[in-house]
Amino acid sequence: MGFPDRIERSISVAHPPAKVWEAITTAEGLGTWFGHKATVDLRVGGLAQLTFEGGHSADLRIERLEPPHVFGYTWGISGLPADDPRRTYVEFTLEPVAEGTRLTVVESGFAQLPDDLYAGAFGGNVEGWQSELGELVEYLDARA
């Protein structure tokens, strides 16, 4: 077996890189083929939000922007809390070829370990919750 850390796919499309670039970096494009709706602040460090059919959404942080060749962003791992530091990195690479564009997408980082797995016996959570619940009790007592 093997923990799938990295996913890679390539497709060829009969369209020039500029057209593919627009489809993968604009709100109009992303909100049509990828999500149901999108907002995009297209700059390195900018955020894009994709809303999917059914209402769930994904927050993308743009990390690489080299039009019309490389578009990279990080986003959260499905099923983990939204503020979890573990995020995967997605990179689209566009390469002009005779018939149009070769588009490659690589998503990596699925196999990264959370910090608390190193913390010993998974014990961090127990103390964390106990002290958080303790703080809640103190907070409520102080207001009573």
Binding site: F3, P4, I7, I77, G79, A111, L117
Partner: protein, 110 residues
């Protein structure tokens, strides 16, 4: 504890979840919070001996942790960290770039 390989962590989670008794123990701890082996035996159709055996295995796998306490009154608590590692594995399987890229291709041709 030495750094663990995510694959080994995920494998223990999937092995633990493959057994229906262990699934019901984990489900009980997730929905009702920490419990003793006696509490679990009272609420599940599993003998106390079998529960003790499963709790030993689940503790070994890092999926539950025994809270400090005197024997027989020890409460077991669910640990989410290994489950979140298994979830990363599932997230990779569920990503489905093939469907997304098919949709992109259709969008470009429209």
């Amino acid at each position: 504890m030495p750094a663990r390989d995510p694959e080994a962590v995920a494998e223990e989670v999937f092995a633990a979840l493959a057994d229906p008794s262990r699934r019901s123990i984990l489900a009980a701890l997730a929905s009702r919070g920490p419990a003793t082996a006696t509490d679990l035996a009272a609420s599940l159709p599993i003998t106390r001996q079998a529960i003790a055996k499963h709790l030993g295995l689940l503790t070994e796998a890092g999926l539950v942790i025994a809270e400090p306490g005197e024997r027989r009154r020890v409460r077991y608590r669910l640990q989410s960290a290994p489950i979140q590692v298994a979830q990363q594995f599932l997230a990779a399987l569920a990503r489905d770039w093939d469907s997304s890229l098919d949709a992109l291709r259709r969008h470009l041709s429209s």
